[in-house]
């Protein structure tokens, strides 16, 4: 939306979002480091450096879990959509917390030695051929590097510079980072003496993240099956049956699946119909789950807007998305499945005239 890469403008929602994040993280660390040790059943208090290292490490792990749950939660229930809006701040903060964890590890376990601590980190244990005693630190390093790259490229400048497909593909590496973190924990901390609480938390995280993604995948697949009528049915040569008028609420859309990677959002507004691609040019957000606000299609993820008739972002912005031609026969909506070049003007179908 902002082609001039102007600095991120703070507003009340962003401040509130970040404030909640900060409060939660500070609360976690304070309780972990200051309050909970009073309830420990140990012979001698756990060393401060180790306690802080564990606090920051576990905090980053839990934050990453929540980050990965936000996506599917917002798909399953749109009340979670506001959590998506500022999720990049969540990610950057997680990378920072993970970096503090790594720093404690470096300055404690790999310090005080004739060997440089960075050299020691990579050379102390090289038993990559065994599961027990695998250098789990390497997995943590990989995860941290991914988190850094994602944090560094999180700004919209990089999104625009790299283009949405590359940026999106790059940021999908968050799943690789999560897998590395789970293995990092499983091959390291969990291999020690039994710790049922930590083991349960890690297992719950994996079940939650996988379960939510599985549920969302099933929902999407079911939805696609339901909408795939358009793919097979030929009402008139070259036109697909996209559905009935009464399936769409005013200022809302119906999403029609053409293929695995092509969906069309058909919007109903002011007694008219217009069709555009379902993918927002910003981060591929599902435009069809957005609404028409101030005469523009508004993405549910970050509020990016497009004109209904030509798929162009309102001036001075220049994003463009593909449009599609529509026809109405009675109350049945027909769709031309051939996408028009992004920004192509298509006259909206007047419902009154055709119906």
């Amino acid at each position: 939306m902002s082609v001039q890469y102007t600095p991120v403008i703070w507003n009340r929602n962003k401040i509130f979002y970040d404030a909640v994040l900060l409060i939660a993280v500070v609360l976690y660390l304070y309780i972990y480091i200051r309050v909970a040790p009073g309830f420990e059943d140990v012979t001698k208090p756990i060393d401060g450096a180790i306690l802080r290292m564990r606090a920051f490490g576990s905090c980053a792990f839990l934050m990453l879990t929540v980050i990965l749950c936000i996506g599917p939660l917002a798909r399953l229930d749109r009340r979670f959509l506001p959590l998506l809006y500022n999720r990049r701040h969540f990610g950057v903060m997680t990378a920072g917390i993970a970096a503090v964890h790594a720093n404690y590890v470096l300055t404690w376990y790999y310090n005080f030695s004739p060997t440089d601590k960075y050299v020691a980190l990579l050379s102390s244990n090289t038993n990559y051929g065994q599961i027990l005693g695998f250098p789990f630190e390497t997995l943590g390093i990989v995860a941290l590097l991914i988190l850094f790259v994602l944090a560094a490229t999180s700004h919209d400048f990089w999104l625009s510079f790299l283009g949405a497909p590359i940026w999106k593909a790059l940021h999908m590496f968050i799943y690789a980072a999560y897998a590395c973190v789970v293995l990092h924990v499983a091959l390291g901390a969990l291999q020690g003496a039994g710790d049922p609480i930590f083991t349960s938390v890690v297992a719950a995280s994996v079940v939650l993240v996988s379960g939510l993604h599985f549920a969302t995948g099933r929902m999407e697949a079911r939805r696609d099956r339901g909408e795939e009528t358009a793919k097979a049915s030929l009402q008139e040569k070259g036109w697909l049956v996209a559905g009935e008028l009464d399936e769409i609420d005013d200022d809302c859309a119906k999403v029609v699946t053409l293929s695995d990677d092509e969906r069309v959002a058909i919007f109903k507004y002011d007694g008219k119909l217009s069709a555009i691609t379902n993918a927002c040019a910003h981060q591929n957000g599902p435009l069809g789950e957005g609404k028409v606000l101030w005469g523009c299609i508004t993405c549910p993820w970050h509020g990016y807007q497009y004109n209904l008739s030509d798929g162009r972002a309102p001036a001075p912005f220049t994003e463009k998305i593909s449009t599609y031609r529509l026809k109405l026969i009675g109350s049945t909506i027909l769709l031309d499945p051939n996408a028009l070049p992004p920004g192509t003007h298509v006259d909206p179908v007047e419902i009154g005239e055709a119906a």
Binding site: K14, V35, L51, S58, S124, G133, T298, G303
Partner: protein, 253 residues
Amino acid sequence: MSWRQTKDAPFYVGYLNAVPKQLVMFLVVFAVCFAGGLGIAALALSSTQNDPGNGGFQWGNRFENVGILELRPYPVLRVPADGETPARTYMLAGQGKRGAFSQAEKNQDGPVTLRGVPVNRGDLTMIQVGRVEAVEGGAPDFTPAGPEPLGRWKLTGEICDGKCYAGAMRPGRGLAHKACADLCLTGGIPPVFVSSGPVENRNFFLMADQDGNLIGDEIKPLLALYVELEGDVERLDDLMVFKVDLAKARILK
């Protein structure tokens, strides 16, 4: 709520300050649950950590003794009996992850006064060497006893670096500590075998190879694992030495 958008459903646009009223309560409840959940997780995770044991630096009990420095094959200080206190043999380490080879090699011909800080866990004591000075004005009348053979043993347990496990970095054992133990041993800290079963009531053994020499890099793949080792055990005053044949080592888990 379903994925399908409706006219009446609240719609959030992040760059607008106004949040639909129906969402405000939901988001407030989520924020409270999120922060509260993290707080509860912190309490649960932190308060139930495994006991790292009572090992640690004995800063208030500084060590100063006269004795003989020997390489067996790692540096040890042999301290003569004093009244009812029997002779003792202390394992030595340098500052940080460093051994005490240079001090031991420099002073192994005569008696020394050794100052340092004990690092202690139960029967395991290691001295972090601070200063070593040759005793002037003649050697005390002290000849350390020779090692007492205790036979051949097959023991199960874990190879740790003696200093961290003694308390420099508690718990100082386990797979999470493997890389650190490797680094410590590279720096010259003596390896210690922590046996799951005692020999003459002792569970900690200074390790040497089967000929009583320094162990090489072949020990590294075995660090921090639960292993079975076979070798001769001998007693050096109060210190047990395990002369292991690493070729016969078996990883149990």
